[in-house]
């Protein structure tokens, strides 16, 4: 027999929900955008050492997009900027 959508399943979600009913929780709103999106900046200067350091780990590796909250575009800019800074010895290639 074919069940239509509106019929509740036997022992299905309806009872399950009732059993585990918790008071609704509200997640605190968090701005998931990265720094550069939030500020509306579409450039990352390669001479801006403090900012670039924040995009790197203690070892001098570039932070992943997830860790840096970067958009694809910002991550590309960050990559380029860090590499230029490394060339000019403003940032290390290999950290201490």
């Amino acid at each position: 027999m074919r069940r239509t959508r509106s019929e509740p399943r036997e022992g299905g979600n309806a009872t399950k929900h009732a059993k585990n009913k918790k008071p609704p929780r509200f997640k605190r709103f968090r701005d998931r955008r990265g720094r550069f999106e939030r500020l509306g900046i579409v450039m990352i200067d390669w001479k801006d050492v403090p900012t670039l350091q924040r995009l790197c780990t203690g070892q001098g590796k570039l932070l992943s997009r997830k860790r840096a909250f970067n958009s694809a575009r910002s991550q590309r800019l960050a990559k380029l900027a860090v590499k230029r800074a490394r060339f000019m010895a403003l940032l290390p290639y290999v950290g201490s």
Binding site: R35, R38, L39, G40, I41, M43, D45, K47, D48, V49, P50, T51, Q53, R54, C56, G60, L63, R67, A68, F69, R84, R86, F87, M88, A89, L90, L91, P92, Y93, V94
Partner: protein, 159 residues
């Protein structure tokens, strides 16, 4: 003529001996190749992230200029020959120098503003942690990315 940004890493020893000669040498080099210099600024001697040609410290010279396109590689070549220049980076800009400088200034304004905001945030949150006090405090440090420690470290090192 195209707009360029150039950074030159200078030998700190030679620069300390006679700053003007060295800086004039670089400026002369640019002008010799027909560059129209918009701005030339010096960064104070700072520690390098790694040693270059046996030097652990260096003086940076940052220049914004217009240069005929066919003079770029001769300029690079001559920089490599010049002994006081340890390393150089020449970048073609996407826009004219004044426009670029303006954009840079705006960028730094925003970054600075953000840094201040962040600092205030951090002060407030640390105060809250202190008031909560004996809560075990497992979560108090917050996430390391937003703490702005990198900046402080950099400043310390420069001093």
């Amino acid at each position: 003529m195209y707009p360029y940004e150039g950074m030159f890493l200078l030998d700190p020893v030679a620069h300390a001996a006679s700053p003007e000669t060295v800086e004039k040498a670089v400026q002369g080099l640019l002008e010799k190749h027909g560059a129209k210099i918009h701005r030339l600024e010096r960064w104070d001697e700072r520690k390098l992230a790694y040693s270059i040609k046996g030097h652990k410290r260096g003086v940076y010279l940052l220049a914004y200029f217009d240069l005929p396109g066919d003079k770029v590689s001769p300029l690079r070549q001559e920089c490599r020959i010049t002994e006081v220049i340890l390393r150089q980076l020449l970048l073609r800009l996407e826009e004219e120098v004044p426009a670029y400088l303006e954009r840079l200034a705006k960028y730094y304004d925003k970054i600075k503003e953000d840094a201040e905001l962040r600092r205030n945030d951090r002060d407030r949150s640390s105060r809250r942690d202190r008031e909560e006090g004996d809560d075990g405090g497992g979560h108090s440090s917050g996430d390391s990315l937003d703490s702005g420690d990198g900046m402080d470290r950099e400043e310390d090192r420069d001093r």
